[in-house]
């Protein structure tokens, strides 16, 4: 279990996702949800740790937390 208090409204499971990749899965979800929604991205891809924060900053959303669950990461993003 992840050690965080953040409650996600939506979860995107991108574990094992090779193409189009976890970030693309996340963007697809962010496009669909309303402002203020917290989306949790599950990914096993090391690159996502850098890719996601970079995009979140570029697109002006909010990165809440990145939790290392051992086998995968939970990345929490709030749409603003």
């Amino acid at each position: 279990m992840s050690e965080t208090d953040i409650q996600a409204d939506e979860t995107v499971d991108a574990i094992g996702s090779a193409c189009p990749g976890p970030l693309m899965d996340l963007i697809g979800k962010i496009k669909d949800v309303d402002d203020g929604t917290v989306v949790e991205l599950l990914t096993g891809d090391e690159g996502s740790k850098n890719d996601v924060p970079e995009w979140v900053e570029e697109a002006d959303h909010e990165l809440l937390d990145i939790i290392d669950d051992g086998e995968y990461y939970s990345i929490y993003v709030k749409k603003t």
Partner: protein, 379 residues
């Protein structure tokens, strides 16, 4: 008693599965134990990759389609109707003509439907073009034939987009095509992608960088198209880009019957190794309609059908199914009009992109001709 296997969809996934199943279950069909039915809204089978060549005048619409009856094994019953409802409790399908069809085993292969209208300004009678359908690709052919100066922008919008290679190939092919027509000097080409590199698949992105540079194709990343107006694209990130000709890789969606049947919220949710529905018994998914964490490509439907056929045959024979799918995907990538390469990957295995050459280009051309053998289950 005869058990009925029903396959919904006569596209790549449905057709290959039907043909391989009828081969695998030959003796059961002969003995009257099993009956296979394909229900398809489209009586023609489409080879969609050719849509990419229509705008360049290198393929005609008639090359993209063949009657389903020419490709599906004669032991399979063909029903030319649209499924409007799937009742997984009652194990029955409702059709657009009001009739019903019961099943014992169900395979869903309804594909991914392009949604250009999801992006304001993209689609028919709009400033933004695409090539994901017969009319759209023919419209683009006319526009391209008359385009000899200005700024062409190709924007990847959809996530995920059907076929990972098409947006990579198109700028390189059209660039060479403009050169052959002697108008390249008066045309600027820009490629845009939603994330910070040129492609979701990292090695593909790395392969693209020097090649796009060499060909003087401009690139923009972190570029999520929000709307297309006359002459300008606006993005989610607040950027703007002017264009004279805009081609978008649209968003895609699954048929609404999937969500209505409780088979998945966005795409049909299946186990990534067994292809069984996460939500219903005796239901499997094949091809673009599924949420498999790999590309939406014909090769995925092709390779997954092997696993599917083996598992369904085991169920029919009361054996324990053991075959599993591991995400094998192969896509050709044309690097212009004379050379090509390919990527091959699987779940948790990134591809290696080889340098392009003439033989791989010919392999792709050859495959475009001989694809029908894949649909037939021969190759």
């Amino acid at each position: 008693m005869t058990e009925r296997i029903v396959i919904v969809g006569g596209g790549s996934g449905g057709t290959i599965t039907a043909n391989r199943l009828s081969e695998e279950l030959e003796s059961e069909i002969e003995a009257g134990k099993i009956e296979i039915t394909v229900v398809s809204a489209n009586p023609n089978h489409l080879y969609k990759p050719l849509y990419l060549y229509i705008p360049l005048g290198e393929a005609e619409l008639e090359d993209t389609r063949r009657p389903l009856v020419d490709l599906v094994d004669h032991r399979v019953t063909l029903v030319y109707k649209r499924v409007t409802e799937i009742d997984t409790d009652g194990k029955s399908l409702a059709m657009d003509d009001g009739s019903e069809l019961d099943y014992d085993y169900l395979v869903v292969g309804t594909g991914a439907i392009p949604q250009p209208e999801e992006t304001p300004g993209l689609g028919e009678d709009e400033p933004g073009h695409h090539f994901y359908g017969p009319d759209a690709s023919e419209n683009l052919r006319e526009t391209l034939a008359n385009f000899d100066e200005g700024h062409l922008v190709l924007s990847v919008i959809g996530t995920p987009h059907v076929c990972p290679a098409a947006p990579v190939e198109f700028p390189m092919i059209v660039e060479e095509w403009f050169r052959e027509r002697g108008v390249r000097e008066d045309i600027e080409i820009t490629y845009t992608y939603p994330i910070q590199r040129l492609h979701g698949v990292r090695p593909t992105a790395e392969w693209m960088v020097p090649r796009f540079e060499e060909r003087d194709i401009e690139t923009k990343t972190f570029f999520n198209v929000e709307n297309v107006e006359d002459g300008t694209i606006e993005t989610l990130e607040g950027k703007e880009l002017d264009f004279d000709l805009m081609i978008g890789i649209p968003e895609f969606t699954a048929s609404p019957i999937i969500e209505e049947a409780g088979l998945g919220e966005e795409w049909m949710e299946v186990d990534r190794n067994t292809l069984e529905s996460e939500h219903a018994e005796d239901v499997w998914g094949i091809g673009d309609v599924t949420n498999l964490p790999t590309s939406k490509a014909g090769s995925v439907a092709h390779y997954a059908s092997g696993t599917l056929v083996s598992r369904i045959a085991s169920e029919v024979r009361d054996q324990v199914p053991t075959a599993t799918f591991h995400g094998k995907t192969i896509c050709f990538i044309e690097a212009g009009t004379e050379e090509g390469t390919f990527i091959e990957f699987a779940y948790d295995r990134e591809p290696v992109v080889r340098d392009e050459n003439r033989f791989l280009h010919w392999s792709k051309l050859g495959y475009n001709e001989a694809y029908w053998l894949t649909a037939r289950g021969v190759m």
